[in-house]
């Protein structure tokens, strides 16, 4: 589904990703762990085509298509979803208006008819309920005045509405207490299916207790330095990252 070959990228003239390889098949959940500054968040931004993240080498194929040639919105419409670590607040743009614009764009791309307003409202309310968000959130500005937990749940709700092929969760656990973490994890788990893949980027093993990965990769200094099964996460929890960083050198 997603095949990353020797990816290299830089931000503000500084090389951050230095030859990353990763192959993800439908239905798989890959966890990417690593110390701060390893390039974890950069990966999500590069894959979704953020301005200022310059790809300097390598290729990324998404369902056989060249992902790196697409604009940010084309990638989204093709089914790549990034759940942000710090979702931005957009005062004045209501959640409802935003969600409808987004879903319409994605459905149009897939040759599906746009929802009428009533059906969509019903659907949106349903999803709100699924992630335990009050319906009033739909009327408010995008993420405006939301708590950290509400912002993350809003991200998961968008994922549910957009039905992407691959989801990148960028440190979704940061800033969440254990209850909020469970709600978010349940939302993610409900979306797991044989067709949908996940990249779960996290610093801590904790999230992986709830979203159990098929593979764990350790990212250090812009490269994957070690891969394994879910037990690798436990090992990291116990021993920290330094021993792997040493190995990587």
């Amino acid at each position: 589904m997603l095949s990353i070959k020797n990816l290299q990228a830089r931000v503000e003239e500084k090389d951050i990703i230095k030859g990353l390889n990763l192959d993800i098949k439908p239905g798989e959940v890959h966890a990417i762990m690593g110390p701060n500054g390893a390039g974890k968040s950069t990966l999500g931004n590069v894959l979704s085509g953020r301005e200022g993240y310059e790809v300097t080498g390598g290729e990324v194929l998404f369902d056989g298509k060249n992902l790196l040639e697409m604009s940010t919105e084309e990638r989204a419409r093709e089914g790549l979803f990034l759940a942000f670590q710090y979702p931005v607040e957009i005062p004045g743009v209501s959640n409802m208006e935003f969600l409808k614009a987004s879903v319409d764009a994605v459905r149009e791309h897939r040759g599906l008819p746009a929802y009428d307003s009533v059906t969509f409202l019903k659907l949106a309310r349903e999803k709100c309920k699924a992630v335990n968000l009050d319906q009033n959130f739909l009327k408010r500005g995008v993420n405006e005045g939301f708590s950290g937990g509400e912002k993350k749940r809003n991200e998961i709700m968008q994922m549910m509405l957009l039905e992407p092929k691959i989801c990148i969760l960028d440190e979704t656990d940061s800033g969440l207490d254990i209850d909020a973490l469970q709600v978010v994890a349940e939302g993610v788990n409900s979306q797991r299916s044989p067709e949908r893949s996940f990249i779960v980027v996290t610093h801590y093993q904790r999230l992986l207790d709830y979203i159990v990965p098929d593979y764990v990769h350790v990212l250090a200094n812009g490269r994957i330095v070690k891969s394994g099964g879910k037990e690798l996460a436990l090992e990291l929890e116990e021993k920290g990252y330094s021993w792997i960083e040493q190995e990587g050198k």
Partner: protein, 434 residues
């Protein structure tokens, strides 16, 4: 001084019939107008607004009596209001409601007692020597509305005062409103300016004087929705007594020249004003908002937020002055002005001013001219929304924040589609707004 416009304006005043009880004020207005220097680039108050265009056009035909078939131009769906309608400055009884429950009469129908009240209040909120178009408004004084609420009277139903411009030949029209709220009374007044779609270039000069008594509250709206060919010179001048409250929402689409002054005099301790405004000029339009918040006594508060989006070759001016007088201790005054320029030829001139003569006050102002937030745009794009549509949504969101704050929901509903249309060339891009 003495340019074509101003000579003709003085000459044309003779054509306006004067009511005997207004004659004195008219005479003094004409006198002051004729001796007030005509503004030029060095006149601080007119630094960024040239009146040159006024001389290039004749505006001195008599404002014609026109009958409109219906209220399509100014009906606000879902708004339960009492309405007075003026067409080209003339009161139109057929389109107006029979007002119930408060004193709300056109000058032309005022009784002796009401005439006396009007005469007593006129020029109570500004000095015509410092207000060129105020002097002209005095000189042309003829018609307007008196709204008077007695002590403790609360009028739940909004009053909608409509001014329609409609004619084939250019003219100037004038009106003056006087709104008097006695102690602890409360009212909502909506000033609504519209014009027929394709009409000649006209000028409307409309001054509103507001007197909010002790503990009284006025919710005020002023909507300038005339077409781009129209010019407007006018404003709202407000006196606030102790603990009085003035809430105002101002909106202006662009015109040939629009100059709107909003002046709030906090004269009684504990008075509070809240002013939100939006301006949206496009094409070659020009808007000039001059606001002045005067704090003359202690313990008052004011909060002012203006946002502008300037498109095409349009030009906007915002001058926001906060003046804290010597004994106005414990004042809290804030002003925020934010602008978006949408084109290479658009222009904004903003000047937030503080003039402070008391030390124990909290005053702050901020002004920004900025592009759309890059982070927000990426967020929208990462959800599949095209860059173009994301920009439209964010531009609209920039002013929608203020529209969302409007208390009368039918007014917000009226405005959203009008605003969305203002700066979006491709209608499809606006499909998710509103």
């Amino acid at each position: 001084m003495s340019l074509a416009f101003n000579e003709q304006a003085v000459a044309s005043l003779k054509n306006l019939p004067a009511a005997p009880w207004l004659e004195n004020i008219r005479a003094s207005g004409a006198q002051v107008f004729s001796v007030t220097p005509w503004p030029n680039r060095k006149t601080e108050n007119w630094k960024y607004t040239s009146l040159f265009a006024l001389d290039q056009q004749a505006y001195h035909g008599a404002a014609p009596q026109v009958n409109l078939a219906d209220d399509q131009l100014f009906a606000i769906a879902g708004l339960d209001a009492q309405r007075l309608v003026f067409v080209n400055g003339h009161f139109n009884a057929a389109l107006s409601d029979k007002i119930d429950g408060l004193v709300c009469v056109p000058f032309s129908q005022a009784n002796a007692e009401q005439q006396a009240l009007i005469a007593q209040k006129l020029n109570g909120t500004f000095k015509q020597e410092q207000h060129l178009f105020g002097a002209l408004n005095n000189a042309a004084l003829q018609e307007g509305v008196l709204i008077h609420l007695t002590k403790n009277q609360v009028c739940k139903k909004p009053v909608q005062i409509v001014h329609v411009q409609s004619a084939d030949a250019g003219f100037s029209s004038y009106a003056r409103h006087v709104i008097v709220l006695e102690q602890h009374s409360e009212a909502t007044v909506l000033e609504h300016f519209v014009s027929a779609a394709k009409i000649a270039e006209n000028i409307h000069n409309q001054l509103t004087e507001v007197f909010v008594g002790e503990g009284a509250k006025l919710n005020h709206y002023r909507l300038h929705l005339e077409s781009g060919s129209q010019s407007h010179f006018g404003g709202v001048h407000v006196n606030l007594a102790a603990n009085a409250v003035f809430n105002s929402f101002q909106l202006a689409l662009g015109g040939k020249i629009k100059r709107i002054d909003v002046v709030v005099n906090h004269q009684g301790s504990g008075a509070h004003s809240e002013i939100n405004g939006v301006y949206l000029p496009k094409e070659k339009q020009h808007i000039d908002f001059h606001t002045c918040i005067e704090h003359a006594v202690p313990h008052c508060t004011s909060n002012e937020v203006f946002r502008g989006i300037i498109a095409d070759q349009a030009k906007a001016v915002f001058n926001g002055r906060i003046h804290i007088h010597k004994h106005a201790q414990k004042t809290a005054a804030e002003l925020s002005n934010k602008n978006l320029l949408l084109s290479n030829q658009a222009e904004i001139n903003t000047k937030p001013e503080l003039e402070i003569y008391a030390d124990d006050v909290r005053c702050a102002h901020g002004a920004t001219i900025a592009q759309l937030d890059e982070k927000a745009r990426f967020y929208l794009q990462s959800r599949g929304i095209s860059r173009q549509e994301a920009e439209v949504m964010l531009s609209f969101g920039f002013i929608n924040e203020l529209i969302d704050g409007i208390e009368l929901e039918p007014v917000a509903q009226l405005l959203r589609p009008i605003l969305a249309k203002q700066f979006i060339s491709d209608e499809r891009l606006a499909r998710h707004l509103i």
